[in-house]
Subunit: 226 residues, 2 copies
DNA sequence: GTCTATATCGTGATAGAC
DNA sequence: GTCTATCACGATATAGAC
């Protein structure tokens, strides 16, 4: 990154001076994220990215070596936050009730997904992204996420639901949680969305309605302290 | 389609005579399906499709007017079977127990998804497909599918789970059911997969374990008669 | 650090021979 | 009905001026 020298007045001025607020790298990432998510990776051109970022097509190559490098940066961002938060919650699992831990995991993970700029959590679903060589570097992290869900869920479910099926509880729950991605694409995230899905996760573990309600309150107060 | 004249000996012979078995239109569709699903729509070239179908790039344009027309044909195939089956099950819903109807709906829908060539059920998830103008012609059908799931599920759930949340039960269940698409992409469809997910659907409606087991048997015998 | 200009290649689609 | 040949365009990426 020594190539970046943010000294004012350096470099030829941009044509469109309206967007010099944030640093250009982030502007490029933001524009690319929006386009990748709405038109796909292969369906997005570097020219469109440049337009969105407010600079010229060629100028992108000062900040990134290739189009694929932009994708890699976005992929890393999109998985990092989720895995980190999930790890923290699983680490502190022993101090709270198992079902509250699951509720907290679901809520914090969905919050991370919803908070991501331009819904980049869905990059992982795109075939051309998965086929890309850069996917291999971050793909296994999502597997760890599923495994984490599985461990937390098995505890919460106890013996209430038949275990050992394929797909496992972790797969089912991650599938449910990532439903917010589709909902968000359709602009359907409301004030009750996250709570509704989190409750559904506990229901999927055979937890009764009153216990779900209790786990919800425990989880929310625990999350508020973080 | 009057342009198709399958008289033997007509037309210049193909370079690669190995694949003349089925009709060329279907060969093109099959090749396109495999590629769209593995590399995305925009990421697939007509040359690659032609290679997969065993003819030359330009020859595709005898069977389809454009690349988009190929996509439209695949989209139609992928939604038709699901909506049809769902409609039949919902129509015969009164004659079986509500929870058995839901189980049957989930199983038959997942079976349709699993039976689709090259997992084309996932075309609906691709941003460049959704952004394409041809999507508008078939997109609303998926909405009807969700609504159908919602009606069947509300009956099965009765008053056991809080209703009226966003997302609705239909959204949650379709989300679960379409999880087979991801599993299939990862080659993880086993003998218990469909049953596990169908049971999870009922669990999501607050149905108890023994009732789930009973619904399963009722549904399977009902489906066997069809 | 961003620009203009351009090289080089790949794309979807068309024309016309066979 | 499939071929060869090619057009017109748009893609990523590079070179070098400012």
């Amino acid at each position: 990154m020594s190539q970046i020298s943010p000294r004012p007045g350096r470099g030829r001025p941009r044509l469109l001076p309206g967007k010099i607020a944030a640093n250009p790298r982030d502007q490029i990432l933001a524009a690319a994220a929006e386009l990748f998510v709405s038109r796909g990776y292969a369906g997005t051109t570097t020219r469109e990215i440049a337009d969105g970022a407010g600079l010229r097509q060629a100028s992108i190559y000062y900040h990134f070596g290739s189009k694929e490098e932009i994708l890699a940066a976005l992929l890393e961002r999109s998985v990092q936050a989720r895995v980190e938060q999930a790890g923290k919650i699983e680490a502190g699992m022993d101090s709270v009730a198992p079902d509250a831990a699951l509720y907290a995991l679901a809520v914090s993970d969905m919050s991370a997904l919803v908070a991501m700029p331009y819904n980049i959590g869905m990059l992982y679903r795109l075939p051309d992204v998965i086929a890309s060589p850069v996917y291999d570097r971050y793909g296994h992290l999502r597997g760890e996420l599923v495994a984490g869900y599985g461990r937390v869920a098995e505890r919460a479910a106890a013996e209430r639901v038949p275990a050992g099926g394929e797909p496992g509880l972790g797969d089912l729950l991650v599938q449910m949680v990532e439903g917010v991605i589709s909902l968000r694409r359709e602009d359907r995230i409301g004030s009750t969305t996250v709570a509704t899905i989190a409750s559904a996760c506990l229901r999927l573990c055979g937890i009764a309605e009153d216990a779900i309600e209790q786990a919800r309150e425990t989880a929310l107060t625990a999350l508020a302290q973080t």
